[in-house]
């Protein structure tokens, strides 16, 4: 199949154009080699491939580099017919600097370039227009003005593009490419003659910014938006998560109805539906998170958030762009680590990824809830105003964040920069505020769920099977006498100094599947069925059994710090490209967690 490739700078509206041309039937394109996410879809008889947006072909970050290498490869391929370069018509000069680079590259590979001047609706709204015939003449390539949002000019483009792609040679002129050193001057000339007045276009944006970046109002708006984001992950996602849990439960009942009593049924209901189910419940939460972050990004606010956070985070060796991954980490570390890709400096990106697991993800929530219920009476207050249980929750979140910042600070202070390219300065373009369009958002939301399942699913599956086998065999005497129970007894000396017996050891081992499994495992060991729904019953049993305050607090802090999630470790390994880092973190956070728990168990009584 002949291929059309789509390139453009970030925020030029490329995703929306791609969606308008291909509809919602798209897939992640399969290019051999490096894993850069290329979306592909069908447009008429062509394959349309969307390349990740890059600011320039002269790359700064690793991600840009991979994208540009891929682009160059695609240019060399026989079946690439046309390169569509999307430009932001409201920002002609900067767009053209990039456009001319793309044109030169295409010429070097005998490929035809077509320019799309997107956002023409905004240009017209400001009372300007662009003479595309004249501009096409000067550029020596076809030019189409259109709006991917209001659809002006889109149908003409949809008619013309296949014509061009069928006979691309006819749309290539013999003019030699503009030399790179002249591109800046040519772009300036062209935009002076054809572009729109920058002050008019930027007026609205600058006016909104005078609020959103204002020292007082901007700070309040920032806190408000982040609070809203935080709320959405926890409150709005909950019904969806419950629905998924319910559906999986029903499915389990239905399926095991066919298999009858026996090992198969136990395996299906515990390892498959139980294990995989405890991981699938996070999918809706991740999708809600992606939706809100997508809205913030497409509206242009995310760049402002990075700007606001940059200075405070830079004290800890982080970037303003580390903020969103940190925040996302409170839902789940896996999408958060992937979101760190946008961080410009490889060094800061690494520190961000390494410290994200310290954020209290939602899998830790049931563990916190259980142990807090054990340790603190529900009606206890702090200074008579604040509910002490609530304060404890907040304290645990804060403890994770502070630990992350400190770890990053020490990494920053005591590790060396390997080369110049490993730390890039903070340079940010502030895009225009725009109303997001639902189509690219939809795609992103669905894709985030699928990516999570694909990334974490296989690992979770195997961990789930292994833990089930260890907990199920040999088949007599329940969990206590299983292999897992034996391992628990065997490692009891490790947990004894923490004031914890073998049952906690087993529950901690089972948490490697997902931390919230801790609750169910303790439930089994303390003889409470369905402990997930009956936290207070289990809490009473544990209280009656006697858990020392220091040991309990130590266990809570252990859960904040220890890197127990196997799926997170797998993603860390993939995203950092180094198994050494992932393994090192498991050991380092494990030791740190152990020491903290040890101190707590012995100092608090």
């Amino acid at each position: 199949m002949k291929r059309i490739i789509l390139v453009g700078k970030p925020n030029c509206g490329k995703s929306l154009l791609f969606n308008q041309l291909t509809g919602l039937r798209q897939k992640v394109a399969n290019f051999p080699g490096v894993t850069v996410e290329l979306k592909s879809g069908q447009f008429k008889e062509f394959e349309l491939v969307d390349f990740p947006g890059t600011y320039s072909l002269h790359t700064l970050s690793k991600d840009e580099e991979i994208a540009v290498v891929k682009l160059k490869e695609a240019m060399q391929q026989e079946n690439t017919a046309v390169v569509v370069c999307v430009l932001d018509a409201t920002r002609m000069e900067r767009s053209l600097v990039f456009g001319l680079q793309v044109q030169a590259l295409a010429k070097a590979h005998d490929k035809t370039v077509v320019f799309v001047l997107n956002m023409i609706d905004e240009v017209r709204r400001y009372g300007f227009d662009i003479d595309t015939t004249q501009l096409a003449d000067e550029l020596g390539s076809p030019v189409f003005a259109l709006s991917a949002k209001t659809l002006i000019g889109l149908s003409e483009f949809q008619k013309a593009l296949p014509e061009i792609a069928r006979q691309p040679e006819q749309y290539r002129n013999e003019q030699s490419a503009i030399a790179p050193e002249n591109a800046l001057i040519v772009a300036r000339e062209l935009s002076k003659n054809h572009g729109v007045n920058a002050d008019v276009v930027l007026k609205k944006q600058n006016r909104i910014d005078s609020f959103m970046l204002n020292n007082v109002f901007g700070g309040v708006a920032f806190l408000f938006i982040m609070f809203f984001l935080f709320q959405s992950i926890f409150t709005w996602a909950t019904p969806l998560m419950d629905a998924v849990e319910f559906a999986i439960g029903e499915l389990a009942v239905w399926v095991t109805g066919f298999t009858g009593e026996g090992m198969t049924t136990d395996f299906l209901s515990d390892a498959i539906f139980g294990g995989i189910g405890s991981f699938l419940v996070f999918v809706p939460q991740i999708m809600v998170l992606t939706l809100i972050i997508g809205v913030l990004e497409d509206s242009g606010y995310l760049a402002r958030a990075a700007l606001i956070c940059h200075k405070p985070l830079s004290y800890f060796g982080l970037s303003g762009r580390s903020f969103i991954p940190y925040l996302s980490g409170h839902a789940c570390a896996i999408p958060a680590i992937m979101a760190a890709r946008t961080i410009e400096s490889p060094r800061k990106r690494l520190f961000t990824m390494m410290t994200i697991p310290l954020m209290s993800c939602s899998a830790r929530l049931p563990v916190y809830a259980l142990l807090i219920a054990v340790l603190i009476p529900a009606d206890a207050t702090l200074m008579g105003i604040f509910n002490l249980q609530g304060v404890a929750f907040f304290g645990l979140y804060l403890f994770g964040i502070v630990t992350a910042l400190l770890v990053s600070f020490f990494l920053h202070k005591f590790t060396h920069q390997h080369d110049e390219k490993s730390d890039m300065p903070f340079i940010l373009e502030l895009p225009t505020y725009r109303l997001p369009h639902w189509k690219p958002l939809m795609y992103r939301v669905v894709n985030s769920g699928l990516a999570f399942i694909k990334r974490a699913g296989p690992v979770i599956f195997w961990v789930s099977v292994v833990i089930w086998v260890l907990g199920y065999f040999p088949q007599h005497g329940g969990l206590e006498n299983s292999y897992l129970g034996k391992i628990g007894h065997f490692i009891e000396p490790i947990f004894e100094p923490l004031g914890l017996d073998w049952r906690y050891g087993v529950a901690i081992l089972m948490s490697f599947l997902a931390r919230e499994v801790f609750v169910g495992a303790l439930g089994t060991l303390f003889g409470i069925e369905g402990a997930d729904e009956n936290i207070s019953g289990l809490a009473e049993n544990i209280q009656a059994d006697g858990l020392a305050l220091g040991a309990g607090i130590g266990l809570l802090l252990f859960y904040v710090v220890a890197l127990q999630c196997v799926a997170t470790v797998a993603v860390l390994r993939a995203e950092t490209g180094k198994a050494r880092i992932a393994a090192g973190l498991v050991v380092a956070y494990g030791l740190l967690a152990y020491i903290i728990a040890l101190l707590a168990a012995n100092l608090i009584n």
């Binding site: 002609m92 276009v201 600058n206 700007l307 940059h310 405070p312 300065p425 340079i427």
Partner: protein, 77 residues
């Protein structure tokens, strides 16, 4: 004088990029329009020496101190 020293709501003209800049960063800055003779306008400065926001041609950029310090200005106006 460097871009870092420009007060809010002031314009200036860029003189040169410092030789000390990492070449890749210098190239990116030129593509962004930080070239000799170009006018810049400082939209705002952030508290605590945070990144500053400038308008240059048809774009608004935010730069942190380490970069802004490497961009020399001809004269403020």
């Amino acid at each position: 004088m460097t871009l870092w020293e420009i007060p809010a709501k002031n314009s200036a003209q860029i003189d040169a990029l410092s030789q000390a800049l990492n070449p890749a960063v210098a190239a990116r800055l030129s593509e962004m329009g930080f070239t000799p003779g170009q006018d810049v306008y400082c939209l705002r400065r952030s508290p605590l020496q945070g990144p500053l926001v400038v308008q240059l041609g048809d774009c608004v950029y935010s730069l942190e101190r380490d970069v802004a310090n490497q961009i020399h200005l001809a004269h403020a106006s």
